[in-house]
């Protein structure tokens, strides 16, 4: 079933399809492709069908329907669903069953969405390929030899392969946009504070945001509308009205000015940081031409501090992670080693066994960055540069509506290609990371295929809390092209 969420809603309202039939069909698709893709850590077949039947009954009674009624959705496994295991892709949380719903899950349930399963991800959302999951490696539906990106690779692959029309991911440094780009779908990272983090297993608390995956911009708008808004349980969630994104998404932005940062592109004699692939660059430049043809002004801008964003990110995010993950010591919860001699040994062994290599690497990095004698040179310096990166964007958005560039330097890379070289892996997030540091919003939409048939993502970045404009601008491009209609043959 290749339908979008909007189409599924339409078919149900006309009586062509029931929620149960929809759910059955997606469950069948999951069964068919999961052995190849491994997008899901858990599929809640019984629960999904039960929800579907309840929604159908509701419709028969003539009750008011939620805005995602009968639409299945995959949930990244760092997001807590009451009564369902939330492993965060880690052995550490193999047995963790949260007694509460994340705020976004409460919203989805209120919207009558069908929670179909928990999708695979890099352990504690740390990674760019989903290879750091303690459980399985998810494959890219466009090429099973390649990764779907990460850390929300399971969610991206599930939507790309039509295992679910929608999915939720989290984005700390690009973990929604990068896999969306590599899987040829739409992925949106909301502004920091737009979506409550309550119930998200934390990685980098000042950077984490939850956001939608969908086939197109309209579906993304619909899902964002459901999950956005203030939550008194998250003091960093901002109390601002939530626009009706899905309604306004079709109206184009007039006198559009698009900023193109010179740092994101190869210059004569100097390759862009991270090594921008020529095919990717061509697709992005073609996309800019589409905007030009729609009357947009393309303006070269500069984000002078963006080359430092990866370095800043790997200090700020890891510092926060080293503290956020300290609770997993086998004392109150989390994996506990079977054999140990005393408390300290128990903590050491439990953490040693429960965490994977990348998580350990980041905990060590973050601990180091915060340690006395180093904190000034690393963590505090990183905070200063973070402010400069924010100011870059403030200045840029004073002269353009959005910033456009590639989502990733390359299309999907091979499984195992970068696992031995963490730095190369980190650089695959070079274009996405600065948005998290600055707290702005960003979206990746499909804008082409490589000669070998791999999707290419176009990233559009907007000022904080301008998701509405961001979606409308993304939709302008989408209407002119059909990249978002391409589906991989799994």
């Amino acid at each position: 079933m290749n339908l979008t969420a909007a189409e599924l809603l339409e078919r149900q309202s006309t009586g062509d399809l029931s929620a149960e039939a929809i759910t059955q069909s997606f469950l069948a698709r999951i069964q068919q492709v999961e052995p190849k893709l491994r997008s899901f850590l858990a599929v809640d077949e019984a629960g999904a069908l039960e929800q579907a039947r309840a929604i159908d009954a509701k419709r028969r009674r003539g009750d008011a329907m939620g805005i995602l009624a009968g639409v299945p959705i995959a949930i990244k496994d760092v997001i807590c669903v009451q009564g369902q295991r939330a492993t965060a892709g880690s052995k550490m949380l193999e047995a963790f069953v949260p007694p509460y719903d994340a705020h976004v899950i409460t919203r989805l349930k209120e919207a009558d969405a069908i929670l179909i399963g928990k999708s695979n991800c890099d352990e504690f959302a740390m990674g760019s390929s989903t290879e750091n999951s303690a459980y399985q490696t998810t494959r890219n539906p466009w090429d099973l030899e390649r990764t779907p990106g990460g850390s929300s690779g399971g969610s991206a692959a599930a939507v790309a392969a039509s295992e679910a029309p929608l999915a939720l991911g989290t984005d700390t440094g690009g973990s929604i946009r990068q896999p969306a780009g590599l899987c040829g779908i739409v992925g949106l990272k909301p502004s920091y504070g737009r979506v409550s983090r309550f119930g998200l297993i934390a990685y980098g608390s000042s950077l984490d945001q939850c956001g939608p995956f969908a086939h197109d911009v309209r579906d993304s708008a619909l899902l964002l509308e459901v999950i956005a808004g203030h939550d008194s349980r998250d003091s960093t969630s901002v109390d601002r009205p939530v626009p009706q994104y899905a309604k306004v998404v079709e109206s184009p932005v007039q006198a559009l000015v698009i900023g193109v940062p010179r740092e994101f592109f190869n210059q004569p004699g100097a390759q862009a940081t991270g090594g921008l692939d020529a095919e990717v660059e061509r697709s992005v430049r073609d996309a800019l031409k589409v905007y030009e043809s729609l009357g947009a002004t393309i303006k070269e801008i500069s984000l002078p501090h963006s080359p430092y964003s990866v370095a800043v990110y790997y200090l700020v995010a890891t510092a926060e992670a080293s503290s956020n993950l300290a609770r997993y010591d086998g004392v109150h919860f989390g994996h506990r080693a079977k054999e140990f001699a005393g408390l300290i040994d128990m903590m050491k062994k439990s953490r040693g066994e429960g965490f994977g290599a990348e998580v350990k690497r980041r905990i060590m990095l973050g601990t180091y960055a915060l340690s006395s004698g180093y904190i000034d040179a690393y963590y505090l310096k990183a905070l200063k540069v973070r402010r400069l990166i924010r100011q870059d964007f403030d200045r840029a958005f004073a002269e353009c509506d959005v910033i456009v560039g590639p989502t990733s330097p390359t299309a999907a890379f091979k499984i195992g290609e970068k696992t031995g070289d963490p730095l190369a892996m980190y650089l695959s997030d070079i274009y996405t990371i600065s948005a998290n540091l600055a707290g702005i919003c960003g979206i990746s939409i499909p804008c082409g295929l490589t000669k070998t048939g791999l999707p290419i993502g176009l990233q559009i970045l907007g000022a904080p809390f301008t998701e509405e404009k961001l979606l409308r601008i993304a939709r302008m491009y989408e209407r002119e092209t059909d990249w978002h209609k391409r589906r991989p043959a799994v």
């Binding site: 997001i79 807590c80 939330a86 965060a88 949380l93 963790f96 949260p98 007694p99 509460y100 994340a102 983090r197 309550f198 119930g199 998200l200 297993i201 934390a202 980098g204 608390s205 000042s206 008194s232 349980r233 998250d234 003091s235 960093t236 510092a319 926060e320 080293s322 503290s323 300290a326 609770r327 010591d329 004392v331 109150h332 919860f333 408390l343 903590m347 601990t367 915060l370 340690s371 006395s372 904190i375 963590y379």
Partner: protein, 512 residues
């Protein structure tokens, strides 16, 4: 030779009187079954987030304002990272470099007069849980009770400006009075709602006018104010002995070139033989043995890797909030004491006693004055008789069996009849059972003899019967008149009007 100087700084943690914890909705009630006052947030479950309790912040503002602190217009939260099983997140949410208040003072009453003790800072933080070690029946299980986890604590750090163990006790008493009066904390040391760590070292004078400083010892496990005083006394002596021994044995050395200024004199820190400063240490106080036990030398300071708490937004405090806090605070003990002195003309010492009993007691005193019009007598009766009654019967002033009006009437009665103090006390005691002053006097059958002719007759008899006293009086021993008065009192079973007797005795003695 002058004796050593003692340098004391106190770190006090008080639990704020909020109904719920600092970052979640769990109850802060004391004595609930283990782990019953917990939720996913204070247990630190993955995905949960803290939300600041506004009431806790408000109480903290009240305390800091009452402690004359500067209140920051912008304050933030920080994480203090350390691994301990009673800390489920393995970090404590506290305040590090931008506490909400700093640079205050607390005025304490000393025999030498009032003294302002400087306060470095007061900040908010969450409490940890409690470890319960169960070692009976061959097991050695450790259990954790998380009821206390997340309880709001205010940490108040004094300057090292407390000079004696007695002063430390006075500081704690004054602090407790203040915080109870403004409803910030109940300050019950037994229940852990007031905890105190004391930092102490001594400065020993040298012949050249400089001082040698011993390493600072932080005493923990202090569970009563008296314990604080005893521990500090013991520790000061112990440090003096240790210094003497260590210098004699050559274990510690002094390098005069390393003198540093402290207050108005120069101080030299003792060094190890290797030339590094002798490390600070922690000590535990053993109430039973009356000794401090050095637990560990802190060779290197713990690294708590403080960083800003990303889950909480900074707090802004504006002038409107501070105005509200000041209005709510009302009259603080120090200001109250000054007012009692000037308004009622009572001595500072007595005003201090009144003030220390709390607002309700002061209100009682003021009501007595209103009834009887005699502040001096009202003060005597309340701080002597009434206070001992309350202490003996372990009663709160709010449930005092004698109303302030009743006590006021008693004073009026005494003044009008000249009832002597001893008899007046009997009346007072009877009034505690619910009688009015008049009823009590009737019931006791006290009939004051005020008839001048009758009393004159008795005075003359007394003079006749005590020639020696009369002779002594004539020689200038004015005290001898007491024997005459005593005779009259005995004859009237203590019911003679003391004022009249006094006047008549003087008239008669001076006449002949």
């Amino acid at each position: 030779m002058t004796t050593h100087r003692i340098i004391i700084g106190l770190e006090v943690h008080v639990q704020l009187l909020t109904k719920t914890k600092l970052f979640c909705g769990c109850s802060t009630q004391f004595g609930l079954p283990p782990n019953s006052a917990t939720c996913p947030i204070c247990c630190g479950l993955p995905g949960t987030l803290p939300v600041m309790n506004r009431e806790a912040f408000h109480l903290a503002l009240k305390a800091a304002t009452a402690l004359n602190c500067k209140i920051a217009s912008f304050t933030k939260w920080d994480r203090k990272n350390y691994y301990y099983p009673d800390l489920p997140k393995n970090y404590q949410i506290s305040q590090y470099d931008l506490p909400f208040s700093s640079e205050g003072w607390l005025e304490i009453e000393l025999p030498s007069g009032p003294k302002k003790v400087g306060i470095i800072r007061a900040h908010l933080e969450e409490d940890a849980g409690k470890m319960l070690h169960d070692e009976h029946a061959g097991k050695s299980d450790s259990l954790v009770d998380l009821n206390r986890t997340g309880t709001p604590l205010l940490e108040i750090v004094s300057k090292p400006a407390i000079d004696t163990p007695e002063e430390a006790k006075a500081y704690l008493e004054e602090l407790r009075l203040l915080l109870r009066e403004i409803g910030v904390s109940d300050c019950e040391m037994q229940e852990g709602s007031l905890r105190c760590d004391a930092n102490i070292n001594i400065h020993v004078p040298q012949a050249d006018g400089t001082f040698i400083a011993t390493p600072i010892i932080e005493i923990k496990n202090l569970n009563s104010f008296r314990g604080v005083e005893r521990a500090l006394k013991y520790e000061a002596e112990r440090q003096a002995n240790e210094l003497r021994r260590s210098l004699d044995a050559g274990a510690w050395v002094v390098d005069s070139s390393r003198a540093k200024a402290f207050r108005d004199y120069a101080v030299i820190q003792v060094l190890t033989q290797r030339g590094s400063e002798v490390a600070k240490a922690t000590a535990g106080w053993d109430e039973r043995t009356g000794r401090t036990e050095i637990q560990r030398r802190k060779e290197e300071a713990s690294d708590y890797r403080y960083f800003p708490e990303p889950d909480l937004v900074p707090v802004k405090v504006d002038a409107a909030i501070l105005d509200k806090v000041r209005t709510e605070l009302g009259e603080l003990p120090a200001a109250q004491k000054a007012r009692l002195q000037s308004q009622y003309g009572i001595p500072a010492y007595d005003a201090g006693i009144l003030s220390r009993q709390g607002r309700a007691f002061v209100a009682y005193f003021e009501a007595v004055v209103k009834t009887c019009g005699d502040a001096k007598e009202a003060c005597n009766w309340t701080i002597n008789d009434l206070l001992s009654t309350l202490n003996e019967r372990q009663l709160d002033i709010n449930v005092c069996p004698l109303s302030p009006q009743g006590l006021g009437e008693l004073i009026v009665e005494i003044k009008s009849t000249g009832l002597n103090k001893q008899r007046a006390r009997e009346v007072y005691t009877a009034m505690l059972d619910g009688l009015t002053a008049k009823q009590a006097i009737d019931k006791l059958g006290f009939k004051v003899v005020g008839d001048e002719a009758q009393l004159l007759e008795l005075v003359r008899r007394a003079i006749a019967a005590n020639p020696k006293a009369v002779a002594d009086f004539k020689k200038g021993k004015l005290k001898a008149a007491d024997a005459i008065k005593g005779f009259v009192m005995r004859e009237t079973k203590g019911m003679a009007n003391t004022e009249v007797v006094q006047r008549l005795v003087m008239e008669e003695l001076n006449r002949g």
